[in-house]
């Protein structure tokens, strides 16, 4: 028999039902996730990412279509059965500040522990593994209320790992985190997917991180349709660009980033390479210049590294201005 996908949605429509009225947020869509895959669910605000996540994880009923976990319909499974197949990290804050981290992670063993919640030797081993995988040893005896946002997310991930399920779904785990914590968390999830063969689904707004770590991207568009594929194929076929298309925001296919600066129409030739040249380029883009590498432009900026010191040389119609700091170079440029 062919191995069933971990998670499969067919003709799924998600949304809210109040009385007789149905409000469809997204769908119909069909997606599939296999073991060992890290999938990022991207989409603009209000496209229905959270609703889709809630529906896929069984917290909310689908309007139509089916969600299957390892070949079984989620509506036919009991909560206790779902809990052994799928664990969650949600955006809900844990208000119980007096709960200590170790107890919180141990709660992940809830579906397996006895009727009073006692832990077996096996439970303890899995908790220990979850703690080590997420590097949360340091704050095991702290209270949840004393954790930073980044630490809290790692602890919630450790709890999900302790639940020992083939599938983990995370709803915006990187929200409120600073950049290093975001990268750390994404790298951790990537490694987990590869090492443990778990299927991991993340909804996120981190486009550049998602493009780097995801095996597959599910792109939920404003109109409720979903495109899936490898990050590279979505970028190259233009789907990515169109999904986030807004006035003044351009996706740069060559760098994989969004351009936030508007062009003023001035052109500059930039010569030189290395880190200094890269950051000079960023500064010039911020000031609205279009950069070329051919020497055709009226203004020529040159970054020269000589004998451990940096030099910026600005040439305009034969006049040359030399600065030893980028700030001096930029203030000269502003006077033009």
């Amino acid at each position: 028999m062919e191995k069933q996908p971990l998670l499969k949605a067919t003709n799924l429509s998600v949304g809210y039902r109040s009385g007789q009225k149905e409000k469809c947020v997204a769908g119909p869509l069909s997606v599939e996730m296999c073991e060992g895959q890290l999938i990022c669910l991207l989409g603009p605000n209000g496209a229905g990412k959270s609703t889709l996540i809630r529906t896929l994880s069984g917290l909310q009923h689908a309007l139509s279509g089916a969600v299957m976990i390892e070949g079984e319909s989620i509506t036919k499974l009991k909560p206790a059965q779902i809990a052994r197949k799928l664990s969650l990290v949600l955006t809900d804050s844990v208000k119980s500040g007096n709960l200590d981290v170790f107890s919180l992670i141990s709660l992940g063993r809830y579906p397996y522990s006895g009727w009073l919640g006692g832990l077996s030797e096996n439970d303890k081993n899995i908790i220990q593994w979850a703690v080590e995988s997420t590097h949360t040893e340091k704050f095991l005896d702290r209270k949840v209320g004393q954790l930073s946002d980044g630490e809290c997310q790692k602890v919630m991930l450790a709890r999900a790992l302790a639940q020992d399920t083939p599938l983990i779904i995370l709803d915006e785990p990187t929200a409120h985190l600073d950049l290093p914590s975001r990268i750390e968390l994404m790298r951790l999830l990537h490694q987990l997917a590869k090492k443990t063969k778990k299927g991991i689904l993340i909804s996120t707004h981190e486009l550049d991180l998602a493009l780097q770590v995801a095996d597959e991207i599910w792109l939920l568009k404003k109109d409720g349709s979903l495109e899936s594929g490898s990050p590279e194929s979505l970028v190259l076929n233009g789907t990515f660009e169109s999904a986030f298309d807004k006035a003044g925001v351009l996706f740069d296919k060559t760098t994989g980033t969004f351009n936030i600066h508007q062009n003023t129409g001035k052109t500059i030739t930039l010569l030189g390479n290395g880190a200094a040249a890269f950051w000079t380029k960023r500064a010039l883009l911020r000031h609205g210049y279009t950069i070329t590498e051919s020497a055709s432009a009226e203004i020529v900026a040159e970054v020269i590294l000589s004998e451990k010191s940096l030099e910026w040389r600005l040439t305009i119609n034969e006049d040359t201005f030399v600065s030893h700091t980028i700030d001096g170079f930029l203030s000269r440029l502003k006077t033009l």
Binding site: W115, L116, G118
Partner: protein, 360 residues
């Protein structure tokens, strides 16, 4: 200590540390002393030695003393223990279920609902809720009162829960709870308005709360209800632990949330309802003791907190009862006044010194 060792310590943290064992041992000893002290004090002065003799069934020369100790003071002290356990545990469960550190049977109108249940039974019997009428009831009627007040408490709790699930905001939910309590109390007031003055006086006395009205077979009925409620809540301690993370997480861990809610509402209503039926609406204990227990035992594990609440709640009620008798005088103050007077500063002190109102 190697890292592996520190792990083992962490992994055993579900069990009690030696320090906590000492705390529990000291508390139990303290409770025992308080119990004897409570029994030995009262309007009629009885020598301490005689009290000890009577407690340990060694008899006494004075028949009146034996009667006072066995029929009045011991039942009253046992009632204090039951009330202390029941109200604290019901408060603990409500704080976890509503995820709100200010939840408690008296704040959210659960005791008001119980009062309404009692009042309705009394009304249909053509009489008024009072200690004295309750005392005159037979065993069947006392069951009826308990069931009525439990149902009253459960109805109010389900109403608040239904509203709170659509609101999701703790502060608004608390306001709704207080409003519902007011509505319930005003229904009772309307009915009081049409009652005779002496009946109103009796009702007012009942609202002051009293531990002295529970004697003989009432005590057995109350004892049975409290044991049932405590057992139910101890069985649901795993459910309560899971609910600490909120309903979505609890559901994702395999908890059938609606069934869990019903179990918790049942045990809370039985506890708060039966106590209110016999002792009047006793405030404050339900909110305060869970906070004290969390501070003292420094945990949020309900397997430890539920017995912990019982110990601290019992101590608090015994102390309040001792003070309410105003040792050395012939008068006794209403228990409700004392619980608030003693307990509120304690709670303020705990919250300020630990800065953990958020940490429930």
């Amino acid at each position: 200590m190697t890292e592996a060792d520190s792990y083992k310590n962490e992994l055993n943290s579900g069990k009690l540390s030696p320090l906590k064992k000492v705390i529990i041992g000291a508390l139990i000893l303290f409770l025992f002393i308080l119990f004897i002290l409570d029994v030995s004090l009262g309007p009629v002065a009885i020598p301490f030695k005689a009290v000890i003799k009577i407690i340990f069934s060694l008899g006494s020369d004075d028949e009146a003393w034996i009667y006072i100790i066995e029929k009045i003071r011991i039942p009253k002290a046992i009632t204090a223990v039951l009330v202390g356990c029941g109200l604290s545990v019901s408060g603990l469960q409500m704080q976890t279920l509503f995820r709100n550190p200010l939840a408690g049977p008296s704040v959210l109108g659960i005791t008001a609902g119980a009062s309404l249940g009692v009042a309705l039974v009394m009304l249909s019997a053509g009489s008024i809720t009072s200690l004295y009428t309750i005392q005159e009831l037979g065993i069947n009627s006392s069951w009826l009162i308990i069931i009525a007040s439990t149902i009253g408490a459960a109805l109010i709790m389900m109403l608040i829960l239904a509203i709170s699930s659509s609101l999701k905001d703790n502060v608004i939910m608390l306001i709704v709870g207080v409003m519902i309590a007011n509505i319930t109390l005003s229904i009772i007031s309307i009915w009081q308005y049409f009652s005779a003055p002496d009946q109103i006086k009796e009702y007012l006395l009942w609202t002051f709360g009293s531990l002295g009205g529970v004697t003989e077979h009432h005590l057995y009925v109350l004892m049975f209800s409290i044991f049932a409620g405590l057992l139910l809540s101890f069985i649901s301690s795993k459910i309560l632990d899971a609910l600490l993370l909120g309903e979505n997480y609890a559901r994702s861990m395999g908890l059938t949330v609606n069934r869990a809610r019903i179990i918790i509402i049942c045990s809370t209503s039985i506890l708060a309802g039966s106590i209110t039926a016999f002792c009047g609406p006793i405030g404050f204990v339900g909110i305060a003791v869970p906070h004290l227990a969390r501070s003292l035992f420094n945990t949020s594990n309900h397997r430890i907190l539920i017995p912990g609440c019982c110990l601290i709640g019992t101590a608090l009620m015994l102390i309040c009862d001792i003070i309410s008798q105003m040792p050395g005088s012939q008068t006794a103050l209403p228990i409700n006044v004392i619980t608030a007077l003693i307990g509120s500063p304690v709670v303020i002190w705990v919250i300020v010194s630990r800065n953990n109102l958020r940490g429930f």
